[in-house]
């Protein structure tokens, strides 16, 4: 079941590369939150109830509900619905993503270790690559935020790769999400100049 959820997660990451509507991006982020909850639920069997509630709250409340709502508000404020004029064409991003997936598979297999799950590592490496790719190839602030969220999800999967015996590190990942995610989205993201949607004031 966990493997199936991870495959679905990887498919959502590939879908990011081909999508052009920001509303699709936001739906995918919400879906990823749901998938991460499922993965955490099945993977962390030996975790204490308190930690499990913490993880579930982060994936369901924070990643699936709160972040997509904040992202939708930012998109509404900016009035931009598509990314295609401000980004590399989706076709090239898709090819780069597939290339990234291949590299992730090779790298994860090169790092086989009895202590960690290779499948988790492959998914995490691919999500990390896809998040960075989105940040580099897109110019819109919202795209950058989506890229950051994908990287955060990669970190979450990476934390799960060491399973139920690293509760403290998982909790730290959660703290990172809550503090930084809410701060940059809720506070600064909503205040940024709505009509510009790009950052151009500070240049050399």
């Amino acid at each position: 079941m966990v493997d199936l959820l991870i495959v679905l997660f990887v498919i959502t990451v590939i879908y990011f590369a081909s999508a052009e509507r920001l509303s699709t991006y936001i739906s995918l982020i919400a879906l990823q939150g749901l998938l991460l909850f499922g993965i955490a639920l099945f993977e962390l069997k030996e975790i204490s109830p308190g930690n499990l509630i913490f993880v579930a709250a982060e994936t369901l409340i924070f990643k699936t509900i709160l972040m997509p709502i904040l992202l939708s508000r930012i998109v509404r404020n900016s009035g931009v619905t598509k990314v295609h004029r401000r980004a590399m064409p989706a076709f090239y991003i898709l090819i780069l993503s597939i290339f990234g997936l291949l590299i992730s598979v090779i790298l994860a297999n090169a790092l086989v270790n009895s202590k960690i799950d290779t499948f988790f590592m492959m998914a995490a490496l691919f999500a990390l690559f896809a998040g960075l790719l989105l940040i580099v190839t897109h110019r819109l602030i919202v795209s950058h935020l989506i890229g950051f969220m994908i990287i955060e999800n990669a970190v979450f999967i990476f934390s799960l790769a060491v399973g139920n015996e690293m509760p403290m590190l998982i909790n730290i990942g959660i703290l990172l999400d809550i503090f930084v995610g809410v701060l940059i989205l809720g506070f600064f993201g909503l205040r940024l100049k709505a009509h510009a949607n790009e950052l151009t004031l500070l240049r050399d």
């Binding site: 935020l145 970190v155 934390s159 060491v162 403290m168 990172l176 701060l183 600064f188 940024l192 500070l202």
Partner: protein, 474 residues
């Protein structure tokens, strides 16, 4: 048990400043905090090598950089009072509350004895710096804060992956107690591929704080709008936090077979940092951005020095300390310069020597010090770095570094001379504010220390640097 009281008192002071919203109370509380932080350094020196609360150890690299912070904390607080006094009560109290928080988080990061705790404190500094950069509440401040938080968060997430890789090496059951000492015991059994990946993630991630290539842009934009005393901290002690995180992992891995790999990566990152710094300084139009690129140049040299090894280790740590004093004094001076010239733009600046001779002298002395021209203490550090390159046979690195430094010297010297002695290009006639005679005193004192360290270094300083590098090979 002194450490727990420091953290508790700092938290109480930071909250009190916001709750009271009273200038006099803020002045008293922040001054008391500055003295308490200096007291922490003395406490750490007296308890060198001891561990407290399980998560903090007063080891030599941490105590060295904590002491450097303590030296500049009183002038930072003093210049902060002056800068923030122009704002309303709310901004004044938020500024000082965030400043107390930032200094506390940096102090915690210096003495943290494990990657996890260090990472938490580094992440916390991002939140405090965000509040400080956003102090002026302008559009540019919002953009700079956004960029800072966004890039730092991405970088810190990458560093977190590096920490997780260290966790994989360590094993699963008790990874929460991932101290440097425990890691050192088992690191030789680790898969080199894991070590390489962990090092790369940590280097790229913590480069957001150290300001190294490729994550240097984060601090450059922040300097454009940050209050000058905040720039002084971002460009010195906060960079030192990033350096320490990378240095601790470097020290940990130095006994493994990836030692040469780490050295090559550091030299490459250092050279690219020098290249970027030299290129942008030649076309710099904003004074504070130019100083930020100068910090990039110095951090590039530090990375090269560590990568070169030998005498480079001592030189890197000496350079870090001296750069802290020099760059902070230049940034404090920026606060006065903006009140005299009312701009940081180079083409609108000029005649500074006529308008404010004391500030102009600080700029000239600061220029000599930061460019490592004798009698600057940085001269000794950079000379040792170049000697290290010669001994190590790094001729190409030496030649490239010297050429790039020539560009840096030309760019900085011509721009500082223009500010001091030329007419402003737009012929604006600024009406300078009256500056207190006391304001530049701390800057002269810090630059004086840099000059003295060129001729004489206290035995305690030599000892603590030597203790720090004793575990490194060669």
């Amino acid at each position: 048990m002194g450490l727990i009281w420091f953290f508790v008192a700092s938290a109480v002071m930071s909250i009190l400043v916001v709750l009271l919203r009273n200038r006099i109370a803020t002045l008293i509380i922040t001054s008391a905090f500055a003295l308490m932080q200096a007291g922490l350094s003395v406490y750490c020196w007296l308890n060198l090598g001891k561990t407290e609360l399980g998560w903090f150890t007063f080891d030599s690299p941490g105590v060295l950089l904590l002491s450097a912070l303590s030296v500049i904390i009183i002038p930072t607080v003093y210049h902060g009072f002056i800068y923030a006094s122009s704002g309303d009560e709310k901004k004044f109290s938020i500024y000082h509350s965030a400043m107390i928080a930032l200094i506390t988080f940096m102090s915690g990061a210096y003495i943290a004895n494990g990657m996890t705790v260090l990472w938490i404190f580094v992440e916390a500094t991002t939140l405090a710096v965000a509040a400080l950069i956003y102090h002026d509440r302008t559009e540019a401040a919002l953009e700079a804060t956004w960029k800072y938080v966004f890039i730092c968060s991405t970088g810190i997430a990458l560093a977190y992956l590096g920490v997780l890789f260290l966790g994989f090496i360590y094993g699963r059951a008790d990874a929460a107690s991932l101290t440097f000492e425990e890691l050192a015991g088992i690191i030789s059994r680790a898969n080199p591929m894991y070590l390489k990946i962990a090092f790369l993630f940590v280097l790229v991630g913590f480069s957001t704080k150290m300001g190294l290539f490729p994550m240097h842009t984060v601090t450059i934009d922040a300097h454009s709008v940050a209050p000058p005393p905040v720039s002084a901290l971002i460009s010195t002690t906060l960079m030192n936090v990033g350096f320490l995180a990378i240095f601790r992992v470097y020290t940990l891995f130095s006994s493994t077979e990836i030692f040469n790999f780490m050295n090559n990566v550091l030299i490459l990152a250092g050279l690219l940092s020098l290249l970027i710094a030299a290129g942008y300084m030649l076309k710099a139009k904003h004074l504070k951005r130019m100083l930020a690129y100068s910090s990039l140049e110095n951090m590039g040299l530090v990375a090269i020095a560590i990568g070169t090894g030998g005498a480079g280790y001592y030189a890197a740590l000496l350079l870090i300390v001296l750069h802290t004093f020099t760059k902070s004094s230049l940034f404090y001076q920026m606060g006065q310069l903006s009140r005299v010239l009312h701009t940081f733009r180079l083409d609108e600046s000029g005649n500074y020597m006529k308008l404010y001779p004391a500030g102009s002298l600080v700029l000239l002395l600061g220029l000599v010090c930061i460019l490592a021209i004798p009698p600057s203490g940085l001269f000794i550090a950079e000379l040792m770095i170049f000697m290290g390159m010669v001994v190590d046979g790094q001729w190409i690195v030496l030649i490239l570094s010297v050429i790039l430094l020539c560009f840096v010297i030309y760019a900085m010297a011509t721009r500082f001379m223009h500010i001091n002695f030329s007419e402003p290009r737009n012929n604006a006639a600024p009406v300078p504010e009256k500056i207190s005679l006391w304001e530049p005193v701390s800057q002269f004192v810090l630059l004086g220390i840099v000059v003295i360290l060129c001729f004489w270094q206290p035995q305690a300083l030599k000892d603590i640097i030597n203790q720090t590098i004793a575990v490194l090979p060669g």
